[in-house]
């Protein structure tokens, strides 16, 4: 190449430096100074920032709301993983293995909620759960289960479980496609061999399909866990705002409340550090847990 070293480095700098400066200012700096803020008590105005050492962390461990928010987050993680994986697996197998004519239609429809705004999803489901007008309660009345009707999002016991269904509703499509991609890559000869050995469809699913799409299953579970821990607070904020009586607060929505409505920015940052640490630990543990030899036939 006819290019001097200097020219090469100049071009390299042109490509990398502006982007990296922006990335440092708007992503790296905020993350690190978030860690730093967690050692201060700060209501937002610059002259009242006070170094308090680990006081915020002590407060964190003594805050009664915190264990509840952690539990709520992991409740959502667990129910979403189970719900989404079972449904997405079922749909993916049905659409790929059973030669259904209208399969493309289902694929297009089931994916669509994945690209809807959380605001739209949240508001739609608030109506579905509406105690007087909502589909859920009128449906229950229609099949004669009046005693099961309740103000779903207004009840301390039922509000959190009620958030699971919209999350599953909105999440299935992506994982259905991921799993379908895995299944369609499995060579037909495995199924033929299994048939010759006398395996029925159910056994084929357990012995052939499932082990061979394990990588996709693993990725899906990790992805659901990460996106839930990093983003469950959005649907919470839209649908319940953490209420009633903190019964649906997750870590992120509690951070928002502490920092941006009560102006405890230092304490908010401490909650942020907790979210970061917990989600990193969870991802590492999960990766160890899900490690399973790749199957080769």
């Amino acid at each position: 190449m006819v290019q001097t070293k200097k020219q090469k480095y100049l071009f390299l700098a042109f490509c990398l430096v502006p982007t990296f400066i922006m990335f440092s200012i708007f992503t790296l700096y905020p993350l690190f100074s978030g860690l730093y803020y967690s050692f201060f008590e700060w209501s937002g105005t610059s002259n009242t920032r006070e170094f308090v050492g680990f006081d915020n962390y002590v407060k964190l461990f003594n805050d009664e709301v915190i264990p509840a928010t952690i539990w709520h987050d992991y409740f959502l993680v667990a129910t979403k993983v189970i719900g989404i994986m079972i449904m997405a697996l079922f749909i993916a197998v049905a659409l790929t293995q059973l030669k259904i004519k209208e399969a493309p239609f289902y694929r297009i429809v089931f994916f669509f909620p994945n690209i809807m705004s959380v605001v739209v999803i949240g508001i739609l489901w608030m109506f579905i759960y509406n105690p007087n007008l909502g589909l859920v309660n009128s449906g229950l009345e229609m099949i004669g289960l009046e005693e099961w009707t309740r103000p779903w999002l207004g009840s301390e016991t039922w509000a959190l479980p009620s958030l699971v269904l919209p999350s599953i509703w909105a999440g299935i499509g992506l994982f259905m496609l991921l799993l379908m991609g895995g299944i369609s890559n499995i060579s037909k000869s495995y199924y033929e061999a299994a048939k010759i050995d006398g395996a029925n469809e159910w056994q084929q699913f357990w012995k052939v399909t499932l082990p061979l799409i394990w990588p996709q299953i693993k990725i899906s579970i990790l992805y659901i866990v990460i996106t839930t821990l990093n983003g469950s607070f959005i649907i919470v904020q839209v649908m319940t705002g953490g209420g009633p009586n903190n019964s649906t607060h997750v870590m992120g929505s509690y951070l928002y409340q502490q920092a941006f409505t009560q102006y405890n920015f230092g304490y908010g940052a401490t909650i942020g550090v907790m979210i970061l640490v917990l989600s990193l630990i969870t991802v590492v543990l999960l990766q160890l847990l899900l490690r399973k030899e790749r199957v080769e036939y």
């Binding site: 982007t19 449904m87 749909i91 289902y106 669509f112 928002y256």
Partner: protein, 280 residues
């Protein structure tokens, strides 16, 4: 092969949940459209049925009295600016990371990629004060920058994998013909990566159009509200004003561009999202 009665039964038994789930997905969306054409009295009397006559007054009210027009404009602006800025920053970096050998290239790539997994919630508090210092708090420009940066790692990631599929020979022959590396990037690589650029831009645009939480934190005055914030505001207010029809009308405004994009670029969007998830 002939199917037994039992197999047929299993097959229709499997269809039933598929049909039910499509209803569960489509009906609420369909119903939202219907609600936008109903009067308040109709919404109460017959919440889940058809309107007696379709009237557009909810749309007009949303547009004129609830400033939905400004919010739609703001949403388009933030989406366009954010997507454009993200591309401008991502394309050169993706090219350098994919094609130029230099020390630390792998490390830089890993740094960008790991930023996709980090919960940004922690960063939002300092970012709030940073934007205030730059006079970019409560501004569409500021929010566009934040949006662009939030999707930057993902965009770099998608573009590098697209650029990896371009044969190197084209760049080499252009270089022998005396084209500068800037020319190669602009005139050879960018057009050849266009498919990837379009895919990732559509996905970013949908993301920005739908985004709610960062807008909630970084915007304050109602004339700067994006559509998501305006809808959230109408929704919270509707408990007192009972403006349900207006709420549905604004939901329709919010979802229509997404439906249009999805119907045109369905394959690109689904492919882009699944590949992003697999490799990410």
């Amino acid at each position: 092969m002939k199917r037994t009665v039992g197999e047929r039964l299993v097959r229709s038994g499997i269809r039933l949940p598929l049909i039910l789930w499509s209803l569960a997905v489509l009906y609420p969306i369909f119903w939202m459209f219907l609600g936008a054409f109903k009067s308040n009295a109709e919404i109460y009397a017959n919440p889940w049925g058809f309107p007696e006559q379709f009237n557009f007054s909810n749309f007009v009210t949303a547009w004129t009295e609830y400033n939905i027009d400004t919010s739609i404009f703001n949403s388009f602006l933030v989406t366009g600016l954010g997507a454009a800025l993200c591309l401008v920053l991502a394309v050169p970096t993706a090219y350098a990371l994919e094609r130029i050998r230099f020390k630390g290239s792998q490390m830089l790539f890993t740094l960008y990629i790991s930023a996709m997994m980090i919960p940004m919630v922690l960063g939002w508090i300092p970012l709030f004060f940073l934007l205030a210092q730059f006079n970019m708090l409560d501004s569409i420009i500021g929010l566009s920058v934040v949006y662009a940066m939030s999707q930057l790692p993902f965009t770099i990631f998608v573009l590098t994998s697209f650029m990896g599929t371009i044969p190197k020979s084209l760049e080499e022959s252009a270089s022998i013909d005396g084209m500068s590396p800037y020319g190669i990037l602009w005139k050879i690589v960018t057009p050849l990566t266009m498919s990837g650029i379009i895919t990732v831009t559509i996905m970013n645009a949908i993301q920005f159009w739908n985004e709610y939480f960062m807008a909630l934190i970084f915007l304050q005055s109602s004339e700067n509200y994006t559509l998501a914030l305006a809808i959230d505001f109408i929704s919270n207010e509707a408990q007192y004003t009972n403006a349900w029809g207006v709420l549905f009308a604004s939901l329709v405004f919010a979802i229509l561009p997404v439906i249009i994009l999805y119907s045109i670029f369905q394959r690109r969007i689904t492919k882009g999202m699944t590949e992003g998830a697999i490799k990410g």
